[in-house]
């Protein structure tokens, strides 16, 4: 059986950044498996700008951002197989993949890096009532048609959900001459980044209706209208507030789900809050030698953070490959008051790491507190904390003890 030191599953931003850093750390025997014909992942269809402000200090389009990594991966001569879908990863790290050109591959790896990204939540998962006509698209699917295939999906558009891709598509469809009638968000606050609300909706006079949802989809063949309604604080439609909006297109931007089908096959346990793997401070899952970073681990707001997380992961993988193991992480990191989730979920208490978290609801004038027992490790004051924005905190080993669980909360 073929053997590799490190197999990277997915050649999107996380996989590319991890591959480059692994090579920098002296790991030679790396293989990237990518199911698309080209590297770059979802960035290929994100033709808007705003990528790279943190990582490169300049504003790039998605393809430009990806190309910076792709060029370096190619310069470094890192082996990639595109058009190659991983079918299975076993807990003893045998990766099985189907490839057009290379047939059925079975490769044993010392380390497997899970960088598969995420998928979109669908109408089926929402169980939105009504018919099933043509013209109902998730935002990413609509973006693929419009940006990669030059195909217009419709003209009279309603958008459900205020996730970033939905906001980006509101602007994109408007620029292509469509009439975006409004964005409806069931929560009382937007799910997308403030800059996207401004640049994609406000700048184009597209109304955002908070605490509203689509309660019925109509049309037997092509979509003819949707019925929207105001919702109470428990997201239940308020009778009498229904309004029927004629449209031929409904775009859904109602959440992203880490794509962990392969992780489950490998025996990796998932955190129900992130829907990604439970990981330690090394981004190692509960299966030794299997690591995860990027949107497959937890959904990020900015690709820059995906790259940074993957680079940190690669540092740890390099150590794992050289030493054969990583320090045990016996301490739990708990998500306390107002915190939706934390990454990592386990730490050693002996090393620096980056703590990532999201708040449950918009908060003003708060402090994020990280503590071990009575000991406050870090207190970060924030004028504003939004669920749409990931919070990252560098934690220094010098302040930690190695025998008390950690708690993270917002007060």
């Amino acid at each position: 059986m073929m053997h590799k030191q490190a197999i990277i599953v997915g050649g999107g931003p996380a996989g590319l950044a991890a591959a480059l850093r692994l090579r920098e750390k002296g790991i030679e025997d790396i293989l990237i498996l990518e199911r698309e014909k080209m590297l770059g992942g979802i960035l290929r269809q994100c033709i808007h700008d705003g990528f790279g402000l943190t990582r490169f200090g300049e504003s790039l389009s998605g393809p430009e951002y990806a190309q910076r990594f792709i060029d370096k991966v190619q310069e470094a001569g890192i082996e990639c197989i595109t058009d190659c879908t991983v079918l299975d990863i076993s807990s003893d790290k045998i990766v099985t993949a189907a490839s057009r050109n290379q047939g059925l591959l079975q490769i044993r790896a010392d380390a497997v890096l899970l960088t598969m990204g995420c998928r979109e939540r669908t109408r089926g998962a929402l169980a939105t009532p009504g018919t099933r006509p043509a013209g109902v698209y998730t935002a990413g699917v609509a973006q693929n048609y419009v940006n990669l295939q030059n195909i217009m999906v419709g003209h009279e558009v309603v958008i459900l959900g205020s996730g970033d891709i939905g906001l980006i598509m509101a602007r994109r469809m408007t620029l292509e001459g469509a009439h975006v009638k409004g964005v409806y968000e069931v929560q009382s606050y937007p799910n997308g980044l403030p800059r996207n609300i401004q640049q994609c909706l406000n700048d184009y006079n597209i109304p955002l209706h908070l605490s509203h949802t689509v309660v019925e989809i109509k049309g037997r063949e092509r979509l003819t209208s949707v019925v929207v309604a105001a919702c109470d604080e428990r997201f239940r439609p308020i009778p009498g507030t229904e309004e029927e909006i004629p449209c031929d297109t409904l775009i859904l931007s109602v959440g992203l789900i880490p794509e962990n089908e392969l992780s489950l096959a490998a025996g990796v346990n998932l955190d129900p809050r992130t829907r990604g793997a439970f990981v330690d401070e090394n981004c190692q899952t509960e299966v030794p030698g299997i690591f995860a970073a990027g949107n497959v681990l937890h959904v990020h707001d900015l690709v820059d953070f995906v790259s940074l997380e993957a680079e940190a992961l690669a540092d740890n993988v390099a150590e794992y490959l050289k030493v054969g193991s990583l320090p045990a992480c016996g301490l739990e990191v708990k998500a306390g008051a107002n915190v939706g989730h934390v990454i990592p979920q386990r730490i050693s208490g002996t090393r620096d790491f980056t703590l990532s978290l999201r708040v449950r609801q918009p908060l003003n004038g708060v402090s994020v507190v990280v503590r071990q027992g009575d000991q406050v490790i870090l207190r970060r004051k924030m004028r504003k904390a939004l669920p749409a924005e990931m919070i990252q905190l560098p934690i220094k080993a010098a302040k930690l003890t190695d025998n008390v669980d950690m708690e993270v909360y917002v007060e």
């Binding site: 669908t122 006509p133 030059n150 292509e176 037997r220």
Partner: protein
């Protein structure tokens, strides 16, 4: 004008079974289907159960055809390459009243010729399926699950292979009898003539019956809504679990594993005016969540991947409203017409027995000459994900399209989708590809593969973007190109 010996109106599972059985004889057979495919209505919108036949009145056509169809289905599934599992079924009860109804059902099952039914206790239930609710149950080993899409498609494809002709998007709008006794049918795709007309129009069977000169039948559509649950829930569902029948001898919400590993929860059941309104309602979904959880302990929101609805075309007594048996008739005063009205559940299980009864009626009126080249065997598309690793390697080596996974959730390859696009019936909708391959039936519901499938439909069939359709009628997916996109 197209002339045939026989025209079948309606290409559902029953119409297609009749077409297939008629091609055993030297007859020209034409099927007229008003929709884009053969299983977009009742035949594709059901639980996919191979019923055993214990629910129906002893001696009724429903009971006879169902028991007959059940017993032969292992062979039928092999002949037609239809995914099928004889899982058995549990019909569970909680109360003494339930126990009495279950015992009545057990007796009726025995009288109908259903074999192997027995009343079992909770301990036996736990051995069979610990996820099932209830305190005791009837276990019926004869029941099974099948893929209703593939079965309907397989019957139609086998009919086509043996010489039948299918006309899709062809709705019958009028009928007359010519001087020579032949029938002239007006359709949305021109006129057709034939010696025999078979009405297998399902929800429209009363309407078509009247058009053919037999008025007076009434079809009451009974709608049912369903949830489709993720295969992760399917891991907990080993066997269909039904509640004890209601006082009216019908079943409330049940949980049924599909042959592909998902779970269907439903249907509820209510009268509707318009049987082709397949919308689902919030109240219906709320009710299914609640009643489904009683039958299936893992009925959980996080497992939802889709909802759908179907309608059973029940023939009712116009006076009393009472539900009637299947009707299969050939009246002397209306020669050359075989009339099927009210073919509802268990129509899927009964389709071939019904078809044989239709053939017999024709054979009683004219001599049927066997077709020596009839071949009962139909092979489906070779499924990559069901193959062993060695077979998979061989498939890719022989055809690189098997190495390109188009649908990641269900592991469907480009080769399978290509074959589905060039299907024998000439179906070219996105939904048609879906039901032939399972591509986009998984948890991402086409999020990954739909953009690839529509591109393949355009490439393989040379279709314009504005000509790609999701399913029936004018369900166009796209309105055109982006600015300057047509030139790009």
């Amino acid at each position: 004008m197209k002339n045939s010996d026989i025209i079948i109106i309606g290409g559902g599972v029953v119409g297609s079974a009749i077409a297939r059985e008629l091609t055993r004889y030297k007859l020209s057979v034409t099927v007229l289907e008003k929709e884009s495919d053969v299983c977009t209505q009742t035949s594709g919108r059901n639980t996919g159960m191979l019923h055993a036949g214990f629910l129906y009145k002893t001696g009724s056509l429903k009971a006879q055809c169902c028991v007959e169809g059940n017993k032969e289905f292992d062979r039928v599934a092999r002949e037609l390459d239809v995914p099928f599992k004889r899982t058995g079924k549990l019909i569970v009860g909680f109360t003494e009243e339930h126990r009495q109804r279950l015992l009545t059902m057990l007796e009726r099952g025995k009288a109908n010729g259903v074999e192997g039914m027995e009343l079992i206790d909770r301990a036996r239930m736990d051995e069979i399926d610990p996820s099932a609710g209830g305190n005791f149950a009837i276990y019926c080993p004869a029941s099974g699950i099948l893929d209703p899409f593939t079965y309907t498609i397989a019957l139609a494809e086998n009919a086509v292979k043996n010489g039948a002709e299918y006309h899709l998007y062809t709705k019958v709008t009028g009928a007359e009898v010519l001087e020579d006794g032949r029938h002239l049918l007006h359709t949305t795709k021109g006129d057709f003539t034939c010696r025999w007309v078979i009405n297998s129009a399902g929800l429209q069977s009363a309407e078509i019956s009247a058009m053919l000169g037999i008025p007076g039948y009434v079809i009451q559509p009974i709608k049912g809504e369903y949830f489709v649950l993720d295969k992760k829930a399917g891991a907990f569902a080993k066997i269909p679990v039904y509640p004890a029948p209601t006082e009216r001898n019908t079943f409330d919400t049940h949980a049924t594993p599909t042959v592909d590993g998902n779970v269907l929860v439903g249907p509820n059941s209510f009268k509707v005016e318009d049987g082709e309104d397949y919308s689902v309602s919030q109240s219906g979904m709320d009710g299914l969540q609640e009643s489904g959880a009683r039958m299936f302990k893992h009925m959980n929101r996080e497992f939802y991947i889709r909802t759908f609805a179907g309608a059973r075309p029940k023939r009712i007594d116009p006076e009393t409203g009472e539900i009637q048996d299947f009707l299969i008739e050939c009246r002397d005063e209306v020669p050359g017409v075989i009339n099927l009205v009210g073919i509802e559940s268990p129509g899927l299980t009964s389709s071939l027995p019904i078809a044989r009864r239709v053939v017999r009626m024709i054979g009683e009126r004219e001599t049927l000459i066997p077709n020596p080249s009839f071949d009962p065997i139909r092979k489906g598309i070779k499924r990559f994900h069901e193959a062993t690793r060695e077979e998979q390697a061989a498939l890719i080596a022989a055809d690189p399209d098997y190495g390109e996974i188009v649908c990641r959730c269900e592991t469907i390859t480009r080769a399978e989708i290509r074959e589905a696009i060039h299907n024998p019936l000439g179906v070219c909708t996105v939904n048609g590809i879906k039901v032939r391959t399972r591509a986009s039936m998984g948890r991402c519901q086409g999020g990954y593969c739909e953009t690839r499938i529509t591109a393949m439909i355009r490439e393989e069939l040379g279709k314009a973007v504005t000509d790609v359709r999701l399913t029936n009628g004018d369900s166009t997916m796209f309105t055109g190109y982006v600015k300057g996109g047509a030139q790009a």
